[in-house]
């Protein structure tokens, strides 16, 4: 009997470890996210502080965090004479003028583009300006400073990645008048901040940079100013500001660093929140696993607990003894989670490096906050989860110690149903408020609403599970006879346990189903929209969303067989406090290819007119004839609304004339070209010709209708797969939960298993019995999850129908696959418990008390 006790204890250790594993995975995700984003922040800090001067002179608005600066290419410049004026200001020790160029790409030795969709390529004129600490911002670590129009210096990592060596000729692409340039690599340039976070740094000498990025004017984009000793940044900035023309400003190094950091922190915050949402999902699922494990352990120990009570232990003492165990599990899980999370952050770092965000210059940052948060969350979650079973443990009456079969007092199903209904109603209300109401942070409302509904489903699942188990039970019995009947009865025996185990899987699958309904609907909507509106033969665009030189449009137009070419430049501007995207077009050319449906008014006809699509007009609360002011960096443009058109894929949410671009001081480039072949021309031939014409510029690609549609859907699918992968974590934890419940159930039923074996159940039949129970649980979870997911997906879809998800598409085949996968998951989860059950010694099993 001692042997049996020791065995049970050992088995319990494994159980506890399994439930700790749920915490390990959840906390690993929390810690990994924190470590990774801290590391990214540190890496950017280094860059920011390494690259700002005491005072920086620039155009107003150029540092704003709005999306305008992402889309628009600022074409303003500071005259060279200003540099001398600043140098003469009292307290200025040194002045360096900078030329900054965007939209430049380096071609790798193998012909592809360096960087791609990842970190940007930054082009500068070479100078040796010092940063606020007095260190030189850029240094040449090998080779020479670039001089003359045919020399360039590039940072070391980019040179390595592109496969070049000093002395090689490097090909580059710009958005300017010279779309394709070549230069000899003469030097390796290095930033004072250490790493570049994957950005590519390209430097030319000043005249060449002015030629490439400022149309050859003797002008600059910004000026770095160093203060005399004893002159503070603020003092100097004030003095410099006095001599500056309108539209320019002097910003202290500290302010500039803060400003840049806040932009970076916003982006990092998004990333952090995104990752932490999945950590939270994993932890919620893990909670189910822990509640279940502790419930079963308490049930198995109920006689021991009753004995304690009989000997005078108070309820509080019993509760505390269980909670202490939970605390230990929490500490163990959090510790292992932290270690695993550190490794996960390293993995993320490597993964992001693959996508161009190279952080190899910065070691992983292990902040005390990460440790505190991980332990706090891990221990709290474990103890809260163990709280319910612990309280139930305390309710075991002392007399139970004398009784043979101890049943733990359990809350009534009725109470669960009422609480569940209330939760469901609250969740639905929250979702509705987030979807249709005008509340701040709507996604959080929807998220909490979904969480409430899921909890309601989990709570009521002991009831809703019965018909499902009945159905699978019928199937089991027909297919597997007595073994199937036994398995079904085992699953039905403790509906709470079965339901809680299935609920863990339910949550993961509900979210996966929601995403797959939304994804499928988005894809269907894209397809329908493209079919209806994409009336062009070819679309010339930049694969990574960057604009390209206007010379491309000229080249394409010159191809025989090309009929119409409509060029479109993406612009962005502010209206009141909102950022609005728009397309700068030639309306006549546009209408020859696309048919825009004006619900009122007409296309803009002069630079003081603008047209909106319906959604945007509604959001802004404007209509035809209204007057507005568009805010561009450094300038404002008063316009009249000329018309409102039906929402469409082919142009942005607003339309202005192309002349507006130059009028507000932006650089003229093209974002898209819509191309129609002449009537009678051979489409394939024209397509090939256009492809040949742009082949020299790898940033530009040609797509026909199908390719365009595929590319759009590929983007959606990519995001979908990423989310699936992250939700996979929740599924893994759910599988652990099934393994755990089954193993514990088998131990709990040791004598029964022994009896079955004694009356002739073969090992194979026994394994089948456990496996069928496992499949029943998994399929139950899958069906509940898919049902809830369908509910979420369909209601979210209808809420977003105004935002472009016009068509509902339910991926039935995919959902059926989910059920099959769940069944397979059930089979896999049963492998170990079934093996253990079949290994049980028949005699010892019967002897177990």
């Amino acid at each position: 009997m001692l042997k049996v006790t020791v065995r049970n204890l050992l088995a319990r250790k494994v159980r506890l470890l399994l439930s700790a594993f749920a915490i390990v995975l959840g906390i690993a995700f929390v810690a990994g996210s924190l470590v990774f984003t801290d590391t990214m922040g540190k890496s950017f800090d280094n860059i920011v502080y390494g690259t700002v001067s005491d005072v920086n002179v620039r155009f107003e608005d150029s540092g704003q965090a709005g999306l305008e600066n992402e889309v628009n290419l600022d074409d303003r410049s500071l005259p060279a004479s200003l540099v001398q004026t600043i140098a003469d200001v009292d307290g200025v020790a040194r002045v360096d003028a900078n030329v900054e160029g965007m939209g430049l790409f380096v071609k790798k030795k193998d012909g592809t583009l360096l960087g791609g969709t990842g970190a940007p390529t930054l082009a500068f004129n070479w100078n040796d300006a010092p940063n606020a600490d007095g260190d030189q911002i850029a240094t040449i670590s090998a080779g020479e400073v670039p001089r003359g129009p045919d020399e360039v210096a590039i940072d070391e990592r980019s040179v390595e990645n592109a496969g070049y060596e000093l002395g090689d000729t490097v090909e580059m692409f710009t958005t300017g008048a010279e779309p394709q340039i070549e230069a000899r690599l003469v030097g390796i340039v290095e930033f004072a901040g250490g790493g570049l976070a994957g950005a590519t740094l390209v430097t030319f000498d000043t005249p060449r940079a002015q030629e490439l990025f400022l149309d050859g004017q003797d002008a600059y984009s910004s000026v770095s100013v160093e203060a005399d000793p004893g002159v503070s940044q603020t003092e100097l900035a004030d003095r410099v500001a006095e001599v500056l023309p309108d539209g320019t400003e002097a910003v202290t190094g500290d302010d500039l660093a803060d400003e840049t950091q806040s932009i970076i922190n916003t982006v990092l915050g998004f990333l952090n929140t995104f990752l932490l949402v999945f950590a939270a999902i994993a932890l919620v699922v893990g909670t189910f696993l822990i509640v279940n494990t502790f419930s079963i352990l308490v049930a198995q120990r109920s006689r021991e607990l009753a004995l304690l009570r009989a000997m005078g232990a108070s309820r509080g003492q019993v509760t505390r003894s269980v909670l202490t165990e939970a605390f230990a599990v929490g500490v163990l899980g959090s510790t292992l989670g932290l270690v695993l999370g550190y490794g996960l952050a390293g993995l993320l770092k490597a993964l992001f490096g693959q996508f161009g965000l190279d952080l190899s210059g910065t070691a992983l940052v292990f902040a005390p906050r990460t440790v505190i948060v991980s332990y706090a969350v891990g221990i709290l979650v474990t103890m809260v989860a163990a709280w319910f079973p612990a309280r139930r443990a305390a309710k075991v009456p002392p007399v139970a110690a004398m009784r043979d079969d101890v049943a733990l007092p359990e809350g009534t199903i009725r109470k669960r149903l009422i609480v569940g209904m209330a939760l469901a109603a609250a969740g639905a209300a929250l979702m509705a408020a987030g979807l249709f109401g005008d509340v701040p942070r709507a996604p959080a409302w929807i998220g909490v609403g979904i969480f409430f509904v899921l909890m309601a489903v989990a709570l009521t699942s002991p009831v809703t599970a019965l018909p499902v188990i009945g159905l699978t039970g019928m199937l089991n019995r027909v297919l597997f006879g007595a073994v199937g009947r036994l398995a079904t009865e085992n699953a039905r025996r403790n509906p709470r346990r079965t339901a809680a185990t299935a609920s863990a899987l339910m949550i993961g699958l509900a979210l996966v189903t929601t995403m797959s309904v939304l994804g499928s609907s988005v894809n269907r909507s894209i397809e329908a929209g493209v079919d209806e509106q994409f009336t062009t033969d070819f679309l010339v665009s930049n694969a990574i969303g960057q604009p390209f030189s206007t010379t491309v449009a000229e080249d394409v137009a010159a191809i025989p067989g090309v009929g119409e070419v409509s060029a479109e430049q993406n612009v962005a501007f502010g209206i009141d406090d909102r950022s609005v995207y728009g397309s700068a077009v030639d309306p006549a050319a546009l209408e020859r290819i696309f048919e825009l449906n004006y619900t009122s008014g007409h296309a803009p006809e002069s630079t003081d007119q603008i047209a909106f699509n319906e959604t945007t007009a509604e959001q802004l609360g404007v209509g035809t004839g209204d007057r507005l002011e568009l805010t561009f960096p450094g300038t404002e443009l008063p316009v009249t609304v000329s018309g409102v058109y039906a929402d469409t894929y082919v142009v942005g949410p607003s339309l202005v004339l192309r002349d507006v671009v130059e009028q507000v001081g932006l650089k003229r480039v093209d974002s898209y070209l819509a191309v129609n072949a002449s009537p009678g021309a051979d489409l394939d031939e024209v397509g090939d010709e256009i492809t040949d014409a742009v082949a020299a510029i790898p940033t530009v690609t040609v797509q026909d209708k199908q390719e365009f549609s595929d590319a759009q859907r590929a983007q959606v699918n990519q995001l979908l797969y990423l989310i699936y992968a992250l939700l996979g974590l929740a599924i893994v934890i759910a599988v652990l939960g099934i393994i755990n419940t089954l193993s514990l159930s088998v131990i709990e039923r040791t004598r029964e298993v022994g009896l079955l074996r004694a009356v002739g159940l073969s090992r194979r039949q026994l394994r089948r019995m456990v496996r069928l129970e496992s499949i029943t649980i998994a399929v139950l979870g899958a069906l509940l999850g898919i049902a809830s997911g369908l509910l979420f997906g369909v209601s979210l879809r209808s809420a977003f129908s105004d935002e472009g998800i016009t068509d509902l598409s339910i991926p039935w085949v995919q959902l059926a696959i989910f059920v099959v996968v769940a069944a397979v998951v059930g089979v896999l989860a049963a492998v170990v418990p079934a093996w253990r059950a079949s290994r049980l010694n028949v005699l010892r099993a019967i002897a177990t008390e």
Binding site: G481, A482, V483, R485, L486, E489, N490, R492, R493, R751, E752, L755, L756, R757, A758, V759, G760, L761, S762, R763, Q765, V842, L843, I846
Partner: protein, 253 residues
């Protein structure tokens, strides 16, 4: 009782638990024939090896040495799969407690070995057993809705319904009050008399032993005595003698 066939036999059965210094010889060379159509009781003081003997003979446990033959099948030659089949088709069991699967009804429990084997019950035989055991009105009940005596009778019915060549019962009345015990023992007796069933029962209760045809006494892992047509008094006498001998002997492990 006219038959003289041997339903099961043990030859020089040895069962050793533990190793080296901690070695315990639970069975130390038991040779025993169980006659067909007879109700045999195995008795002995605690630690005499009576339960171990039954577990080895019933193919629940493997002996360290010696042989067990059920009918004409030598158990040592069988693999797990064949042992499982033998237990299922040719042996019936009644344990002291926890005989029934709690999730199944009485009827389902009785038919469990047959449905595991995927066999249909012999309707006439099934009805006969149900009638004999007196549970016709309880068939749809689950174990927790029945008394201990009723549960044990269901277990007996389950042991008999597959027409096994031998039934092993391990203290079947150990957990019952005397009235319930008498019901169960009466049923076992009847199944021997009316159906010619072979039954081996381990017990330490002289009253239970008095229902049998033959009592085999075990002490220190060997057969020490045997009694035919026992009464409660004669059994008690022999037991007391055995116990006195044990107390006079050096301490056993």
């Amino acid at each position: 009782m006219t038959t003289t066939t041997v339903a099961a036999q043990a030859r020089d059965l040895v069962k050793i638990y533990g190793k080296n210094d901690a070695e315990v010889h639970a069975l130390d060379g038991v040779t025993l024939d169980i006659h067909g159509g007879e109700f045999t009781a195995v008795m002995g003081p605690s630690g005499s090896g009576k339960s171990t003997l039954m577990h080895c003979m019933a193919a629940l446990d493997a002996p360290s040495a010696g042989s067990v033959v059920i009918g004409d099948t030598e158990l040592a030659a069988l693999k797990d799969k064949e042992l499982t089949r033998l237990r299922r088709d040719r042996v019936g069991f009644v344990f002291q407690a926890f005989n029934l699967v709690p999730t199944l009804t009485a009827e389902e429990n009785i038919l469990l070995p047959l449905s595991i084997a995927g066999r249909k019950p012999d309707e006439d035989w099934y009805r006969q057993v149900i009638e004999a055991v007196g549970l016709a009105d309880r068939l749809k009940h689950r174990p927790n809705e029945m008394s201990g005596g009723q549960q044990q009778r269901v277990a007996c019915a389950r042991a008999l319904v597959g027409r096994p060549s031998i039934v092993f019962a391990d203290e079947p009345t150990g957990n019952l009050d005397s009235a319930s015990g008498a019901e169960v023992l009466g049923f076992l007796r009847r199944s021997v008399d009316e159906f010619g069933q072979t039954i081996v029962m381990v017990t330490h209760d002289p009253v239970a032993a008095s229902y049998t045809d033959r009592v085999v006494f075990l002490a220190d892992g060997v057969v020490v005595d045997e009694l035919r047509r026992p009464t409660a008094e004669t059994v008690l006498e022999r037991m007391t003698a055995l116990q006195q001998r044990a107390m006079g002997a050096p301490q056993e492990g």
